[in-house]
Point group: none
Chain length 220, copies 4
DNA sequence: TATGAATGAGAATTCATTCAT
DNA sequence: TATGAATGAATTCTCATTCAT
């Protein structure tokens, strides 16, 4: 995105068009919704343009093709979750509480951003074809793992956590517990004939996941 | 063009598998691969016909439309996993071992049937639209949950398992731990820059998941 | 083109559709006109379908893409002129008369088939990209050159023609004399402000070309 | 982006070539390449702007539209060849040598300016639509024909050339002999499987053409 | 003079589906 | 049961051109 000083419209007035940054953002927002709702294959450039309130041609002007638009959307989605994760400040937290908060954060983030789940599914369907072309992705995730490794280490030193826990394995487990429940809630609630998204159910799930992970981690 | 000379079964021999059955099976097999590889939106009827070695028109003859073909594929996939699960015979097993085997089974099944994962993702993308039309699905899954409930109960009575574990929650957790790891392995191995499908990695994952679940369940 | 026995309609009745060979021929005819009139870049698949009286999709069914349709058209055009050339039977002709007839044939063929000229121009604009992929082209043209070489040889032995004339050079000259006049007649008649396509002009041109070539060839 | 500091001409020095002129020339140069490489239909205004290192909008500022840009390019191309032809000074030359030099000049000009050939092809494809709108074209070409007529006349009077040769016919023949060979060299070298652009081949062709024309013209 | 942003009308190509046999 | 021929409606992407500054 080109960051030049645009004629910053006064509060309240929509800065209508001729604003490259704004247009690009609108396209990315619309594309996120569309890709999340229909997958890469099912997404329609027409609908993206319409949702963005912009001419279809402009999408190609800023983003080469459907595929590279998809990558741009994906990168922004990852940036977003990792950025929010960073704000958790797990480093300063007491280990048990840190794990509790990481689980809750992951759960709430997926709950608030269901698009993120379907986006990842799409990308996996395509064997991470787009992500593998990304240059920024690699550096984005290691801090998270380092932080988690630190929490586990501190917990162990304090005699609270069991030893030898691989932070990557644990992260995948924590994510997977939320991901599968929320990402597959449509089929799950159909085959188990049970509402999985009611307030009560959500509270229970978070509680179950926390019990599960801490029941495993905490030495007594 | 499939010009295989069928043995034109004489009375008494080989009473099943007329060409019609065979054709339908071929179509379902081809469709499974195609839907799994490209999702519902990305799947191509042409390719399915080609993979099945049959004329495209025939697909419509046996299966109304792309959508109902998808449902047929989905139902068969669920039948398959539930049928294999039944053969686990968890009812007779010692509780801890039963859980251990359920985890291992789920893991190995997903590993052997990656199509199942992408199929479910597709169906969830479409909000279980197809599954909800199915009549047979509901009855298919309750036995599994009942069996698991039994295992948990027996484990609790034996003083081995903790009390108050919801079998549906636990089943979702067990499935999710495998599902997320295997279904998202392309993005995960990209962002964590780590091979998740090597023999060593697979063994470690199964071990981690078993520790996690039993570490939670088992009271000491 | 698949040559199977089609339900050969009775004389007078148009064998309407469902006739693969006929459809392919119609497409090729329409494509020839369109490519000739607008060049490869300017040709429109829509118009070709319309001219052929067939669905656009069918063009792709029979001919992969615009480019391979172009090649198919080109090959057929070459086949056509070389086939007519063969019927000239120059081998049996007296040398001077043979040359005379070759010039006249070339001239009249270009005159009757102006599409051929623009087609070749298009292909040259694209540096013979399509033709180079053709497998049949190479064998198609050598007979012509061999025949011409024979005529020159016989003429020389009879003491009528000069020695050492390269048949390829001569063929290119004969073709070029007609080609440039007819292919560029629009610009030429504009810049010289002179009607080049009137009956009189045509007769004069053929006469001039014949004089030119024979004036050079014939030893006196 | 062309950011060359123009010498901001002081009074008396360098009165011409403001940026405007330079920009127009850049556009024409770029357009010539583009039209020659892709034809009128295949040429892209975007690429012309890029090649010229200027904004696309500027093209429309100076040249109404793609079509009139094409005409401008065409006119400049004709001006160029006629201007060089004039410098041949055939009037003062001995007739045989004059013809020889005209052939060689035409050949070498086409060889050095292959764009000219494809440009003419494009214009003929469009039936000289653009050229017919030009006001300057008509006056541009008659001097050439007059000069050639003079040469033929002098040659005849000297008893060297045959009588009754139409200068327009002869000019078209001379041009055509080079034009077809060079303009169609891609298809010709493909179908005859022979390198037509090697040094040796070029020398032979010029020699052949000269022999052909003089063999016809010169009375012995 | 010069430019980046934006667009409507098309371009080739694709796709699920139906027709006729 | 089986198939090749045919199609209408999209779908991605392109292009000459104009707007606003």
């Amino acid at each position: 995105m080109t960051t030049k000083n645009k004629p910053q419209a006064k509060a309240g007035t929509e800065p209508r068009a001729r604003d490259a940054d704004r247009s690009q953002k609108d396209i990315l927002d619309a594309a996120l919704s569309e890709f999340a709702a229909h997958g890469l294959g099912g997404a329609r450039m027409d609908r993206i343009a319409e949702r963005a309130g912009l001419n279809k041609r402009l999408i190609y002007y800023y983003f080469e093709s459907k595929e590279s638009l998809f990558l741009a959307v994906l990168e922004r989605a990852y940036e977003n979750i990792r950025s929010e994760e960073r704000q958790l400040n797990l480093t300063r937290e007491e280990p048990t509480e840190a794990i509790r908060r990481l689980i809750a954060f992951t759960w709430n983030y997926y709950l608030a951003h269901p698009e993120f789940l379907t986006l990842l599914n799409s990308e996996n369907l395509h064997r991470a074809r787009h992500l593998k072309q990304s240059k920024q992705i690699l550096t984005m995730h290691s801090p998270l793992i380092q932080t988690l490794a630190g929490v586990l280490e501190r917990g162990h030193q304090a005699g609270v956590f069991r030893a030898g826990v691989d932070p990557v394995q644990l992260y995948i487990s924590i994510a997977g517990l939320s991901y599968f429940y929320l990402g597959n809630c449509h089929t799950l609630s159909t085959i188990f004939d049970r509402d999985l998204l009611g307030t009560r159910a959500l509270v229970e799930r978070l509680s179950h996941m926390t019990d599960l992970v801490l029941g495993y981690l905490v030495r007594d």
